[in-house]
């Protein structure tokens, strides 16, 4: 695994050599190679980055790894990408993903699955599998992903890199093809915590084009290396309760707890009552919002259109052809839970439980500085290994809660077992991103044996 660091690249122009690397990708992580140069006067000019193909960049297609958008060229660029371009960074390509960001394995792409560079028989995780694989393979120092239920953190964990999901409201979603509007966030996948903080700092901030962004000044960099002595870190009891959680994962996790104690922080087990509902709540709310967000893909204005006699038939044929199985499954689920007669029992109820989860976190973070838990309950599975949708959905059990609560959450590599990477997550109070990054940075430093330089 090549370790690209933004600091070390400042002042160098590695764009051309990066393009060569991308063209030789064998992981199927790249959907389109191209060059959109950043601001030549920007501090970071010459440094490349990749963008997940569900984030629009003018000049590149935005397929969302779906047949229905296989020919779609967006007429504008996402705000988050614009801010990076302004700072000098250049876009060198779009990465593969689970179709419309729906998935945890990157096996649901219309353009083929992505391979994990650490072990090419295994999945890289999803849905930002392409971005994570590319960073892990050393193509670029960072790539943008999107995280709705863990889609930045899970692939980061499986590929042995850092994946950060900032607090909901910090980064503009204008230009991110919506999956579940109240859960989606753009997040960076990097090789180290400091770079994740830097990229987030550049992207974040109120966007008049996105009403859900907040106007908050935050400094994510200055206190990154401040020690975390006396910090109160909680970990949830439930991770030891589920059969699905592999022992190897728990092994690594307990080692990390020791590391944290050695840093002078206090570690406490907590009981989170509403956690057991998290997956159910998520899998009602996300598909519901998705079923509505994906209604615009009808072949009328853009994308693929499969014409048949009559309007209704054209709609049906287009969407039947264009959407993959997992996408269809979630649209069905969403339509069902929103339909008359079921709205109260499913969607509305799930929203209420979500509120309870949110309140429980609020209470938790009044007593503790952060929550720590594994990123994934399992080691990276082999490609094709997971067959049951429910088994698939349960892989999200540890990551989903951050999206439900709008919390900042980061996954960092915590060690390897059987040569496979295991990641752990640090989650904090909403808008406590600086603290979460600080804690993660300290742990990262300690886990590397203190060998890394600041």
């Amino acid at each position: 695994m090549v370790d690209l660091n933004i600091d070390e690249l400042i002042g160098r122009d590695i764009l051309e050599e990066t393009l060569k690397l991308l063209k030789n990708d064998t992981l199927n992580s790249i959907l389109e190679v191209g060059l959109l140069k950043g601001n030549e006067k920007g501090k970071y000019f010459g440094i490349p980055f990749l963008v997940k193909d569900n984030i629009v960049v003018e000049g590149f297609k935005a397929t969302c790894a779906s047949k229905i958008l296989e020919n779609y060229s967006p007429p504008y660029t996402a705000t988050a990408v614009k801010r990076l371009l302004n700072a000098g960074f250049s876009v060198v390509g779009k990465t593969n993903l689970d179709e419309f960001a729906m998935g945890s394995s990157n096996e649901n792409s219309a353009f083929g699955p992505v391979k994990n560079p650490v072990d090419t028989d295994r999945i890289p995780g999803g849905s930002s599998g392409g971005s994570a694989a590319a960073v892990s393979a050393g193509y670029v120092p960072f790539a943008l992903g999107s995280d709705t239920g863990g889609s930045v953190r899970l692939p980061a964990s499986f590929c042995g890199v850092v994946g950060y999901k900032p607090s909901y409201g910090l980064i503009s979603r204008y230009g991110l093809v919506a999956f579940a509007s109240s859960l989606d966030q753009i997040g960076p996948i990097t090789t180290n915590v400091k770079d994740a903080a830097l990229i987030t700092q550049i992207m974040m901030g109120k966007d008049p084009l996105d009403s859900t962004t907040v106007d908050m000044k935050m400094d994510l960099l200055t206190d990154l290396s401040k020690p975390i002595k006396e910090y109160k870190i909680a970990y949830p009891k439930f991770i030891f309760k589920y059969e699905m959680v592999e022992n190897e994962v728990l092994e690594i996790f307990e080692k990390v707890l020791e590391t944290i104690k050695n840093l002078g922080a206090r570690v406490t087990e907590v009981d989170l009552e509403f956690m057991k509902y998290a997956v159910a709540v998520y899998y009602i709310i996300a598909p519901a919002e998705a079923s509505s967000n994906l209604a615009r893909f009808d072949g009328v204005r853009y994308g693929v259109r499969k014409e048949k006699e009559g309007l209704k038939s054209t709609y049906k044929y287009t969407r039947d052809y264009g959407f993959g199985l997992e996408v269809k499954r979630r649209i069905f689920m969403g339509n069902f839970t929103l339909s008359t007669g079921y709205y109260e029992a499913y969607y509305n109820r799930a929203m209420k439980v979500r509120r309870l989860i949110y309140e429980e976190f609020k209470e938790l973070f009044e007593k503790y500085d952060a929550l720590i838990l594994p990123t994934s309950p399992v080691l990276p599975p082999k490609i094709g290994e997971i067959k049951e949708p429910l088994q698939y959905y349960l892989m999200d059990m540890f990551t989903i809660i951050a999206n439900l609560g709008g919390l900042p959450a980061i996954s960092i590599p915590a060690g390897e077992i059987k040569n496979l990477p295991v990641g752990i997550q640090i989650m904090g109070k909403q808008f406590d991103d600086a603290k979460v990054l600080q804690i993660a940075n300290n742990i990262e430093f300690a886990l590397s044996g203190g060998a890394k330089d600041e």
Partner: protein, 479 residues
């Protein structure tokens, strides 16, 4: 009391006169622009685009709610109404379903309150043109998204309206209100004001109430009345036979002047409403409302009171003249120029409004202007023409826009008050109509009008009718 009792409820959409669309900064000049030129990623539903609420639209909506006497909800929310149609770019419309902006308002028509159930904000869809009769059978269809995203308020009335005439009156009053406060142009022909109606009829003899019929496609005030009259009569004809109309949606065809069934066009759709996650709730504070109240124009009722106070015109006249913003302006301008408000109000009430109605003109279009009133008054008070001649001149000004004094000159309409001449003509008429004279002598004094009429005819209306009356009476008494 009529055997059949009609019940009507209206669902009205009003386009708000903002500079930009409801959720993006595209311009709203729908009519002047070429198709698909006022569009952007947001109002064409591009992937990744997000809505942002237009504050100006909210302001106008709050103004409307205040003018409609509604109770404004401090917290209201946007929701998504999901369905597929080519003019709906996102596959859903952003509207307010669960918690609308305002509830429980009313409009007064002739002392009767027509209650308004709710007022809410939503976005308009694009314009769809398909060749042939239905989009399902068309060979092609064209969509223009200039209109997609234009701010609308939807007003739903309670079923308090009891006749097609009342429905029309309601729409016309609503139009006046929204024009008054510059909320909307209220132009039905241009689609800035649209209404659908629900109508049912109760047979008071049998106690049977007809099914409810929805009527759409009425794009003028006249058609609102005509369509509902047609539909009411159609329903009654069923009830009279002991039958019932099917519950359905019908469209008004202005060419054949009938309604036709639109069954199948709108199947029972499940709109799967849920809260719009991309927008924050609307919070309308009491302070905000107070600020908006300051910006409201003088309302019609206040204006009527002021007219009575300031201009000493009758209350009835004041009410009529203040009802329409443009007419009120015209009145005040004329009153100022002429210096005699009573004169102006009389002439407007009796002559001008009639002309406007008969010629289907609006006050801004009519060729007679406030300054002409001044001339007319002067011509009368100087004795140059009689009042009845002035009425004829008035009509001529409306027709040509020529100034009254020029018309009088050109046509030689000066008043004849030459007593000798009048007497001469009268004596001749009396001689030629002995039978009528006899009637007069026998007590039928109303035939005086015949003699006066003859003189007026002979003098082409120029004789002073009062003088003619006097002289005729004198001469007839002498006979």
């Amino acid at each position: 009391m009529s055997r059949f009792k009609t019940t009507i409820g209206l669902e009205i959409h009003v386009q708000l006169m903002t500079k930009t669309k409801m959720f993006c900064s595209c311009k709203t000049n729908v009519l002047e622009a070429e198709p698909n030129t006022n569009i952007c990623p947001v109002c064409t539903g591009q992937p990744g685009a997000l809505p942002v609420t237009n504050e100006e639209a909210v302001k106008l909506a709050v103004k409307a709610a205040l003018l409609l006497n509604a109770k404004i909800n401090e917290v209201s929310r946007f929701d998504r109404k999901n369905y597929f149609y080519p003019d709906l770019p996102k596959g859903y419309q952003i509207t307010q379903y669960f918690y609308p902006l305002a509830v429980q308002g009313y409009i007064e028509i002739d002392g009767k309150k027509i209650r308004i159930r709710r007022i809410h904000i939503e976005e308009d869809a694009g314009k769809l043109l398909h060749e042939g009769e239905s989009i399902e059978k068309a060979n092609y269809a064209l969509v223009d998204y200039n209109r997609s995203g234009i701010p609308l308020i939807e007003i739903v009335t309670e079923p308090d309206i009891e006749s097609p005439k009342e429905a029309r009156a309601f729409m016309e009053k609503l139009r006046n209100i929204v024009r008054y406060a510059d909320i909307s142009t209220g132009d039905m022909e241009k689609g800035a004001l649209r209404c659908d109606a629900n109508i049912s009829v109760l047979d008071t003899e049998t106690g049977v109430r007809s099914n409810r019929v929805e009527v759409k496609n009425m794009n003028s005030f006249k058609f609102v009345e005509k369509a509902l009259e047609y539909e009411r009569d159609r329903i009654i004809s069923y009830l009279e036979k002991g039958e019932n109309v099917p519950q359905e949606t019908r469209g008004w065809d202005m060419n054949s002047k009938r309604t036709f069934s639109m069954r199948g066009k709108e199947e029972e759709a499940d709109y799967r409403y849920f809260p719009e996650p991309d927008l924050l709730p609307l919070i309308i504070t009491q302070d905000y409302i107070e600020e908006i109240k300051k910006e409201l124009p003088e309302l019609a009722d206040e204006k009527a009171e002021r007219f009575v106070r300031e201009y000493s015109i009758p209350e009835y006249d004041a009410k009529v003249l203040s009802a329409d913003k443009d007419i009120a302006e015209y009145f005040e301008e004329a009153a100022k120029i002429v210096g005699d408000a009573k004169f102006v109000s009389n002439w407007m009430m009796t002559e001008l409004l009639r002309e406007l109605k008969e010629r289907e003109l609006n006050i801004k279009e009519v060729k007679i202007k406030p300054v002409h009133f001044k001339e007319l008054k002067e011509l009368i008070s100087q004795g140059i023409i009689s009042t009845s001649m002035a009425k004829k001149v008035f009509v001529e000004v409306v027709e040509t826009g020529e100034s009254p004094s020029k018309i009088v000159e050109r046509k030689g309409l000066k008043k004849i008050d030459d007593t000798a001449l009048i007497e001469e003509i009268l004596k001749r008429v009396i001689k030629e109509n002995p039978k009528t004279v006899k009637k007069y002598k026998n007590g039928k004094t109303s035939v005086l009008g015949f003699f006066v009429g003859q003189i007026m005819k002979e003098t082409k209306g120029k004789a002073d009718p009062k003088l003619v009356n006097e002289i005729a009476k004198k001469l007839l008494d002498e006979v």
